[in-house]
Amino acid sequence: MKYLHLVWSALLRRKTRTLFTLLSLTAAFLLLGLLQAMNSLVAGSADFLGADRLITQARISFTQPLPMRMLPQVESVPGVTRVAHSQFFGGVYQDQRQGFPQFVVGPQRLLDVYPEWILPEEQRLAFVSTADGAIVGARLAERFGWKLGDIVPLTSFIWTRADGSRNWEWRIVGIFEGRDDEWRDRAQLMYLNYAQFDEARSPGARGLAGIFIVQVADPGMAEEVAAAVDARFENSPDETKTQAEAEFQLGFLRQFGDIGFIMNAISGAVFFTILILTGFTMSQAVRERIPELAVLKCLGFTDRAVLWLVLAEALLLCALGALAGMLLASAVTGALPPDFPPLRTDLRVWAFAGVSVLALAAAVGLPPALRAMRLRIVDALAGR
């Protein structure tokens, strides 16, 4: 700590240059923070999912439906306790920009395998017994101001009714809440009763489900159960692929591209740009101070002490810029409207920023620090 003022004063030697470098670092870490918050959201989007649930989909693709007649066969596989089914509805409410996910489900089965959703008993019964019933997450209800009994018109870009129309109407019979903060944040979807859906859709599509959600008795045996389910349908017209729910979720996101890779690639480009800029600043700052560093050595500072002083200067510069950028990123993610994805600069993002600061400080500080360490006093004082 006693060297802090020495390090600090070195940064203040050229105030304008330091200010602009700090602003660049702040902008870079703001971007880095937001990108990594997005990355963290994607990476963490499956963390909360239960380890006791598997998803069975068609082997070819999850867009390929599976016949409902397979459900009892899946249910009979040893180790399976319950099976639910789900079908992506792909509905648009009022405006395409107001997107939210809807799934057609068997109400009782769905609520049995997802105890994380909390729904009053009378609403549960209403969902089970209302053919055109729908339940919505509390966040979604807040967003659109929906209440029980409201009719929600949806236009499906996937499913047509038997009469050729794509317009469907659903009656809100329940509003569910998440069990904990994680699930409460995710109460932004809508479940639709399979009864109306299957009866009203075009005859050729009836009796089909998108995926099966398989609850297993022992999460430790999930892999064996998944293999047993797939083995049951091997060489049949409807071969299956069963995997952990978290894995399925990530696979679903990857269909839009490897988001993690894209985010990291952009972060890498930002990091590289700032590395060049800060590296240039640090090199110039040290080059200007060669005689001063030589004087420090005259006074008894060892070569290693001078090396650490320059490295500390690089670290302080990077850390200040990063802190400002990350605080801004936190402010931005905190101020996002509720209909935006729940971006957060969580511990994972801060840790990423911390490691980036260390790597950046080492990369930009080490070359001038080594130069400072190696400089010969008599040459430096003589201006050689």
Binding site: K2, Y3, L6, G300, T302
Partner: protein, 239 residues
């Protein structure tokens, strides 16, 4: 005021025997000091004089532990500094030597007080003690009222006095002065030299000063002349 010639004093603080210094520039080896023998007793004030290129700054750098001889023995304050490693030499400098340069070499962004405190950062003193000692050193050079000023806010003479305070603050045994008045006008130079003389006479500091200026050399107790890398008229004390 000054006395030319060797003074009879007890034990040498600096003992130089057969010291040679050579530099290699490309394929050429240039010997700038040729087998120097010199003793500087404790409490002496020696002026090193000679024409440009005579090797006086090189000799000063060797005595101050800023450079190592190519051959010979160099003992300062009982330590064979020619045999010390780079790190040990740095520690030795911090404890034993104070440096005063022609161009002051103060840190421009630090106040006078902070500049003087610099050598104390290498000690175990706490912040309060460092401040107190730096104030004392500044008071000794008559600048305690300018402690908060940065070098750019001080005159050349004042900057050199801050540099002297910095050299003194860790109470070194020997002060190495490289043309300390080279950038100063006559009047200010005399003030600085009087101050050095005071440090030598009243506080017993051993001073080795390189100068071109015969008037500056007059303030020293004796003068040693170098020419073309050899001593001209001052054999090692005790020889």
């Amino acid at each position: 005021m000054a006395v030319d010639g060797a003074a009879a004093v007890p034990a040498p603080l600096v003992r130089i025997r057969g010291v040679t210094k050579a530099y290699v520039r490309g394929k050429q080896r240039i010997e700038v000091l040729h087998g120097i023998d010199l003793d500087i007793p404790d409490g002496d004030f020696v002026a090193l004089m000679g024409p440009s290129g005579s090797g006086k700054t090189t000799l000063l750098n060797l005595i101050g532990g800023l450079d190592s001889p190519s051959a010979g023995e160099l003992t300062v304050a009982g330590e064979r500094i020619d045999a010390l490693s780079g790190e040990a030499l740095a520690h030795w400098r911090a404890e034993t030597v104070g440096f005063i340069f022609q161009s002051y070499n103060l840190m421009p962004v630090l106040s006078a007080q902070r500049n003087v405190e610099l050598p104390l950062l290498l000690t175990a003193f706490g912040a309060g003690e460092r401040r107190r000692r730096a104030r004392l050193a500044l008071a000794l050079v008559g600048l305690d009222d300018r402690a908060g000023h940065k070098p750019s806010e001080l005159s050349g003479g004042q900057q050199q006095r801050v540099a002297i305070a910095r050299a003194l603050v860790s109470d070194p045994r020997i002060l190495i002065c490289d043309e300390p008045t080279g950038d100063l006008d006559r009047k200010t130079a005399d003030e600085v030299l009087t101050l050095l003389q005071l440090l030598n006479r009243r506080f017993g500091k051993t001073i080795v000063m390189v100068t071109h200026d015969p008037k500056a050399a007059d303030y020293a107790a004796r003068t040693v002349h170098l020419d073309k890398g050899s001593l001209v008229d001052a054999p090692a004390a005790g020889h």
